[in-house]
Amino acid sequence: MSHHIVEVHELEHTYPDGTAAVRGISFRIHHGEAVAVVGANGAGKSTLLLHLNGYLTPQSGTVRIGDFPLTKETVKDIRRAVGMIFQDPDDQLFMPSVYEDVAFGPLNLGLPPEEVEQRVQQALQRTGVEHLRERPPYKLSGGEKRAVAIATVLAMSPDILVMDEPTSNLDPLSRRTLIELLAGFHHTKIIATHDLDMVIDLCERTIVIHEGTIMADGPTTDIFNDDLLLKKSHLERPLRMQACPFCSRR
């Protein structure tokens, strides 16, 4: 795949209970871009993400990942190209040991054992958790689980990383470590989050979603300076862009 482009055109999705979660979303994300998807709870972020790895197929509109339109036939290639990192690492780490979890994807790709070994080693190294190799996932700390979850995805060598709330439930130091790790990746990144301070660090572009439609799409700094827009979409300025509560009082 030459270009790791993600293109969504007029995407719509209505759940069986009648909730129109996504109502006509279009955007185009280029190779190597890091884009934040922000919005209120229930704005449609998760539904959108589920389309990007082919868990949901478009009811109307199209999704293109790289050279493939998303259809039932291409879903396998798309899942290889798009690495999805879940909000709850417990959902993602289902094997009895860290090693087996990271090897799960490469083994499914049908790679030879030496190649699997090499990929696992590289992925664990990249996320700095080689020492956890033989440990069972349920005994890891939150930060460790997150790092291993990312390793499981990296072992598939995806072109695009899609993340749902990567910094939730992490202590500040683990969060910082994670942000630095993500900043070092050259993949195309799509991050759905409420952690707007992380967005400043990682994403040059932000898409604001409100009630299933795109409210704004543009450079992160522009969006975070538009107070009216932020208020309308249930957001507020990242803490770092707010006045200091102590010095600004007088």
Partner: protein
């Protein structure tokens, strides 16, 4: 509440025991699984009034526990906690079977009591054997061994997943229980009806999680088979232990060692 929490700690404790490094721990899991199964089959195949003939099995188990450095207190506590099931199974025997089979001095003992005791002993031996197997092998290794021994992969994977998520499930249940306990005062809010809601809620959450896990698997190219890494290797030592262990089990099952020993001692005394 304390019960759920201690059950949780218990599993971790069992896991910790399994990381030990003794003669028993080092044996190939397959050997241990087969020997443990043989042990159970031998014990349950005894006649319904058998008691003395089973005692050599108890001795054998104690030797293995000693070698594997499994604390006896732990195993006994587990047996006591689970014993109500066995008691329930056997409790009617003394009522149904009142024929006197044994006289201890002036005390007549009915067949029912003997078979009840026999049931308890069988229960104790088999459950303890399984505990010792897991405590010296680790649950995951037991599953791997089962898979290698030819049980359908789907069962092995089910067991592995069960063990992986039992911790998550327990934690979830614990949180819900705590949330409810904190808002119940005296006995109110703790009735059976609330338990039903709690369980229903837990089931729904579990289904949701199951769906998310499945999605996570699909994202990484899951195609219906789970590939488990196998690193089990049988050595000559394993084969020797297997043959010797199997032989010992068959011999003590075939011959009533306790009786032979008793006769031998009475002969000597005379």
């Amino acid at each position: 509440m304390a019960k759920i929490e201690s059950a949780f700690l218990d599993l971790t404790y069992l896991d910790r025991l399994a990381t030990g490094d003794t003669v028993i721990h080092r044996l190939d899991p397959r050997v241990k699984v087969v020997i443990a199964a043989l042990f159970v089959v031998c014990v349950v195949s005894f006649d319904k009034y058998a008691i003395a003939a089973m005692l050599p099995f108890a001795v054998l188990l104690m030797i293995i526990m000693g070698l594997g450095e499994i604390p006896a207190g732990y195993v006994i506590t587990k047996l006591v906690v689970t014993s109500p099931f066995a008691v329930m199974v056997g409790i009617f025997n003394p009522l149904l079977d009142q024929q006197i089979v044994l006289h201890l001095g002036s005390w007549a003992i009915s067949g029912g009591w003997v078979s009840f005791l026999s049931i308890l002993l069988r229960f104790g031996l088999t459950v303890a054997a399984m505990l010792v197997l897991i405590a010296t092998t680790g649950f995951n290794q037991v599953c791997m061994a089962l898979e290698r021994l030819g049980i359908p992969k789907i069962f092995a994977v089910q067991l592995l997943m069960l063990y992986r998520y039992i911790f998550v499930l327990l934690e979830e249940g614990q949180r819900m229980h705590r949330a409810r306990a904190l808002r119940s005062f005296q006995k109110r809010g703790m009735e059976m009806k609330q338990y039903a809601y709690l369980l229903g809620q837990l089931l729904l959450r579990t289904i949701d999680r199951g769906q998310r896990i499945h999605l996570a698997m699909l994202c990484r190219g899951f195609d219906g088979t789970i590939r488990i890494r196998q690193n089990l290797r049988i050595t000559t030592r394993d084969i020797v232990v297997f043959l010797a262990g199997g032989m010992v089990l068959i011999v003590i099952r075939r011959f009533n060692i306790a009786l032979l020993l008793g006769n031998f001692i009475t002969d000597l005394l005379q």
